[in-house]
Symmetry: C2
Subunit: 381 residues, 2 copies
């Protein structure tokens, strides 16, 4: 049965070539803007200049250096700047890490304690400073949702939180801004998008309208991923990856379902300890996580695999088809150049990871035991 749900997504999506031109009007109501970005690639690829041109006439301050797994410490520093300078709008320019961090900054401005309290859900945000985004990486979907993942280096934790207060006001998606994304990061983004789609397929309260959309989008992403990797400046293919990553996590594919997210829970434990990219962790974890679920949730995994890989051979049983699909997913990841084993990133301490993961629930719908988490990691060796 499809479960009751409430959904409202107020983000204005602005897609296409040179849509940065809309920015001037979008920030018109604001005076003092904090520009937040990452490692500075936007200064090399021209995005920084494009943005600054649109912000002419505004007081602009900058906070740069947001890291791939964004830290609570960065949020603290940016909040300080906002409070001291009476900033009234934040502009996130970057990928999911920058946007996720800006979400915490936005809510943290109205909380006097440690913003980590918001991430751990010790406190509920009461208000948030408005912000918009200029997306430069197709991956997390953070540009059109109200979720965020933050790392605490001290406690070695990487946790997800969310609040309806932190939807971006707008997100500008120009596929050309992703032309210069490196091959590795493009691959990570593809893996991330596909993983988000798959995680929403493992659920309670199935909604067949979600299923068919998820299956179709996964197939399309797989198809266009090859085109992008062949030609990074293929506009159509970059467009498909950009929009797919946005749809994959804008809540439109989880209407009336409760989702598991166990694969992400395991990945977060890996990258909390090892600081590998989220996409790398996912391409290692997901096929093996699904193999575990092929035992627990055979029909469901089989249905997904049969549809995305068009497995027609009826001489196999459900479990075999499900496992065959998991192998095909892993093979696809390898084919596009993704990392699929812990060995490739020199990670051997799987019991340490399993222990950290097990500290929090792994899988909201089908919680895994310590032994099951360990089994997934062992298969991923």
């Amino acid at each position: 049965m499809i479960a009751n749900f409430i959904q409202q997504n107020p983000t204005k999506l602005i897609f296409g070539k040179q849509q940065i031109k809309q920015l001037k009007n979008l920030v018109q109501p604001y005076k003092r803007i904090l520009l937040v970005y990452g490692g500075g690639s936007i200064k090399q690829n021209g995005v920084y200049d494009d943005v600054m041109k649109q912000l002419k006439g505004k007081e602009v301050m900058e906070y740069a250096g947001i890291q791939p797994n964004p830290r609570v410490q960065s949020a603290k520093e940016a909040i300080q700047i906002i409070k001291e300078n009476d900033i009234d709008f934040i502009l996130a320019v970057g990928g999911g890490s920058v946007i996720d961090c800006v979400k915490l900054i936005s809510a943290g401005v109205y909380y006097d304690g440690n913003p980590w309290d918001i991430v751990t859900k010790k406190v509920e945000p009461s208000n948030a400073l408005p912000f918009g985004t200029v997306l430069t990486l197709s991956a997390t979907g953070s540009e059109m949702n109200c979720g965020s993942v933050i790392t605490n280096e001290k406690t070695q934790e990487k946790l997800a939180w969310g609040s309806s207060l932190v939807y971006p006001q707008f997100s500008i998606l120009d596929p050309c801004y992703t032309y210069s994304v490196s091959k590795g990061q493009t691959i990570n983004g593809i893996v991330d998008t596909i993983s988000h789609l798959i995680e929403q397929y493992i659920n309670q309260e199935h909604n067949p309208l979600n299923d068919v959309r998820i299956e179709g989008i996964i197939k399309t992403v797989m198809q266009y991923s090859h085109k992008v990797l062949k030609n990074p400046k293929n506009y159509e293919a970059r467009s498909v990856l950009m929009l797919a990553s946005t749809i994959a996590l804008n809540h439109s594919l989880s209407w009336g379902t409760k989702n598991d997210w166990g694969g992400h829970d395991i990945e977060h434990a890996i990258s909390a300890i090892h600081d590998i990219a989220h996409g790398v962790g996912l391409s290692i974890v997901m096929p093996n996580f699904l193999k575990l679920h092929a035992k627990k949730n055979t029909k469901r995994i089989k249905q997904l695999m049969v549809h995305i890989f068009e497995l027609n051979d009826t001489s196999f049983n459900d479990y075999d088809l499900a496992m065959m699909g998991c192998d095909k997913l892993q093979a696809y990841f390898k084919e596009i150049g993704a990392i699929t084993t812990l060995k490739e990133v020199d990670i051997t301490n799987i019991s340490k990871i399993a222990k950290l993961a097990y500290k929090h629930t792994v899988g909201s719908v089908y919680p895994l035991s310590y032994e099951e988490i360990y089994e997934v990691l062992k298969m991923a060796k």
Copy 2:
């Protein structure tokens, strides 16, 4: 290539059993509410009582009797009531006709002239009174978009208009509220939903992410339509039809495409003259409209048909596959009990209809000549 687009859909969707309980909170900020509904079926099926219970403590006025093809005259009358009684919120309870009419009422309150000027685009709405909806019919998708279709009896015109000011603030979708919908209206709703999906497939600037989602949703609607017609109180099947009709026209499937809508243009001419239900007009027009496009747009129609009907026989050429699919669509409509010929509704004056249709553009992307419109109608005889 996927075209530039901007999208923002602020409607809060509230789906599920007994979600009417949310209504009290949703209307909390308002004092004087105009309740707008249709022929009074809501008084028989309990929806009226459920709504009134939630509105206790408010000043409530009513405007009833909105007809299936809503008239500009109804909007005029309701606007008068709103102005005289200082109404600050409108609640539409019904299907697409009621909601479409409320959209014109909502915008018309702030325009002193004839609201028909808004429909003909002579004037742009400057403001709109806030409104919400309680949906009782799965069909038009009006509950989560900013479009509206209004009929002018005097001029025998039926025209579509829209404005970003007239998104519903919220829409409450309880599938149980559609249990008592008649078989005929259920069939019309199914046809309407499928037609909306197909119309968005005939476009410029193809977006493969739209294509796969549209194909998947059409297949799912076809599958669940049989379940609903067998058992009108099948909660899951009613849920699928309700959510599918909403997704079918909430703009999420037209990201970056320019759509044709030629089938609707022809249907509007039929029902402007003959006052048949929109869904009836569509089941007559769509298969024949697609047959015309099988000539003009062979590859596109073939792609759609191959995917929704799983046509695998490679011995046929593209045109044959496209035509085969059109026949299958017509056969499906017949199978669920939909009307598929003009004869069945005693319509013979096809040149009068063709002339009226040709007065406005038929097909925004591939405009049809008078002869082509006539040909579609002739095939529909």
